[in-house]
Amino acid sequence: MSQNIDSQHKPRFDFGKYKGIIISVALFLLLDASVLLFNFYVSFEIADDAVGVNLAGRQRMLSQRMAKTLFVLDASRDDPAGFKTAFDELQLSKGLFDETLNGFINGGVVRGAGKEVVTLEPVTNRLGKDSLQNTLLLWQPYKSAVEQLTTDVQNNLPYESSLVAAVTMARTHNLAMLSSMNDLTVSLEQVAASKATRLRIIQTVGISLAIINFLFIMFHFVRQLRDSDKVIEKARRETTEILETVNEGLFLIDKDLILGEQHSARLVDVLGPQEFAGKSFQALLENIVSEKDAETARGFIELLFDPKVKEKLIGDLNPLSLVEVNIAQSNGGFLTKHLQFSFARAYQKDDDGAQKISHVLVTVLDITEQVKLERALNESRKHNESQLEMITGLLHTHPGLLKEFIANSFNCFNRVNNILRQPAKTSQAVRDKATSIFREIHNFKGEAASLKLDFFETAAHKMEDTLALLRDKRDLSGNDYLGLTVQLESLISYTQQVEHLTEKLGQFAVVSSNSPRPVNNKQVTGSRRSDGWEQLEDFVQNIAMRNGKMVKLVASGLSEIDLDSEYQKKLKDICIQLLRNAVVHGIETPRDRELSEKPIVGRIDLRLAKVSETEMELTVMDDGQGLDYDAIRSKALSSGKWPEDEIESWTNKHLLGLIFHDGFSTAAEVNKDAGRGVGMEAVMNHVLAQRGKISVSSRSGRHCRFVITLPIVHTNSSEEIAA
């Protein structure tokens, strides 16, 4: 899968799209600038005009002052001080007037009002020119008269006549000159006013144009922007909609393995709420996968950014194609999810139009349901297979017997578990548990063997192995029992499976036999007696076969006496033990029998008989080699439990007692059928507990006979026995 995402992240600068707006803005600025420039220019001109107007005004004032000083001179001929002041003022006024008038006519430098120097341009407007011309005409004689007066006064000549002439000039010319200067002022004011008006018009026009331009920009481009915004918004909405609705967790990562800004809503459900944007992918994987896998994932993603590597040819290397995630819950438990990460290159066109890998699109799928389903399927397939195996193993066993066996097994397991449960703080107490459990398991094994339930027998045997190690271990502690408990647990689990299966098979049997009344479990177990003993035949043959012997079991009287079921079970355990001994230790191999000229098939008699109303007698007799006292003696020697000379002095009867001793067996090696030396002790314990008797007789090479006398315990007194 390969996505081509036209990303909006880095669009190439598109001049064409923005040309309109740029020209408009440039125009706007140009317009503003030119109005500003013009404004500058005109306002300087207006400032110059203002100087002209001022000076023209001053001419009016100067002509008045000249007239006034002439009159003062005339009046103060007798006052030399007043004369002198008026004379100086006349000189000054005359000079300024003349200089300014010249300035107006020809242009030039003129002293301003505050003694500063200003430059005047020649006046060009017609009214101004005319009035200046008039003034000049008037001023010429006036000026000469004043100059004549000046010369006379300065040379201390009589000035009467020249003063009179100047005063006359002032009288005749002053008003006309004043009016001409007034005209000049007005003309200059008019020019300035017209310039200001022009400036206002231009400003108004410029600003209006700028406003129009601005409005154009506003309306035109805002609409364009709005349109393109709409397009973007629509695209964004679509993207959002996609991201909101897809069923996968989606996000992009860049070359530096940093997550993109957007992700699908589903991602939060899949990975849990957190801040995704800008997070590093490694940080995201933290607590999800092992460090090693996260590292491998990083390598994998780097491959995707390498354009030389073929995307289609590396899918198998994805280390996150199936990830089990454990999310800690507040209650201390874990929520387990199965996630599938897939990665795909996302391309982007670069400036040359070539495709470039810009991102990797990550898809996260929660496939917990699929995985669970698949596992359940596998589980049930496996389960079916093991069930099939179990069925074949169980088929040969009578369902009733099997049910009984299962019930007994659970009882046995409970007893074992209870033994384990008892607090035991002394090491002796801990050690005793091994012995007690051994007895239980040994009986269980016997029963399993009698039903040819190999699995149970093997499991029990292994537990016996464990127990044997425990018994011999120095400094035995409770912890050492752990292995045994694990074995017990697995045996219980297995038994439960068998139970489950037999229940199913039982239902099947009910249906298939179309039985009018449902078979009750209890009834099945109740009907066991006649069958219960029959399994002993199988048991004997089974052991004989395993030990390479040929045996015929002749049983009698076993079903004659009505016994309590628990009690009968114990009796059966005794039978199993004695029969096992008879086959393993008593009956010789066919070859040995042939050599001793005996029938090849050995014979074992099993008899149960009432000897009184309250007592019964169990006899187990084989026609084998008889008790091997030498073997017992050498076993006793090798056990090291007794001094050598003492053993040598023991009688056969004493030696016989040893076979009931804890942990004593003459079998050469430990196998399923013999060698533990616990069986006979268990028999003895049981008999003693019931206040019974055991007698043994044996003749070398001929036979061995065990006769056990026990009280009869009927069905209705079970409570007493169990206690």
Binding site: S290, E291, N326, A328, Q329, N331, G332, G333, F334, T336, N417, N418, L420, R421, P423, A424, K425, V430, K433, S477, G478, N479, Y481, L482, G483, T485, V486, L488, E489, I492
Partner: protein, 149 residues
């Protein structure tokens, strides 16, 4: 579940007691209980496990043991709060030990402390748990392990 796995959790508890003044802690013979009848004393610290095995492991002890334990580590304040903290610490030691032994393969939660026995959330009812009795001084406590593959 393998014996080795169980042993790791037992070691965790023993390790904790070895840090105390009275190191004489004994482990009793492990036995089984059905989860519908879980074994528990007064206070229980649970850690959740996930990975190849999943389920929980908890340390449970009677208050009197915990008070005595607090005193033995020099803590004179035997309030409920401290008792819970202590159980949490034992549970933490168990999980720390498990972490160092199993590595990243296992996910182990932070301990949760409760009074009495854990509920169904922690213990699938159709399963059995291993109970490993722990004897310290005259008291009984236990590590209970319920894990499925």
């Amino acid at each position: 579940m393998s014996q080795e796995t169980l042993q790791v959790f037992i070691d965790g508890v023993v390790r904790y007691f070895h840090h105390t003044n009275d190191k004489d802690v004994k482990v009793g013979t492990p036995y089984l209980v059905e989860n519908n009848n879980p074994a528990a004393y007064d206070v229980t610290g649970i850690i959740g496990i996930s990975g190849p095995y999943r389920g929980c492991v908890y340390f449970t002890a009677p208050r009197i043991l915990l008070k005595h334990l607090l005193l033995s580590i020099g803590e004179l304040d035997t309030s409920n709060e401290h008792i819970f903290d202590l159980v949490g610490e034992v549970a933490n030691t168990i999980s720390g030990n498990a972490r160092s032994r199993f590595g990243h393969e296992f996910m182990i939660s932070v301990p949760v402390m409760i009074e009495g026995a854990p509920n169904q959330i922690h213990l699938p009812s159709q399963m059995r748990s291993y109970v490993i009795p722990v004897y310290w001084k005259a008291y009984h406590a236990a590590v209970v392990i319920c894990l499925e593959q």
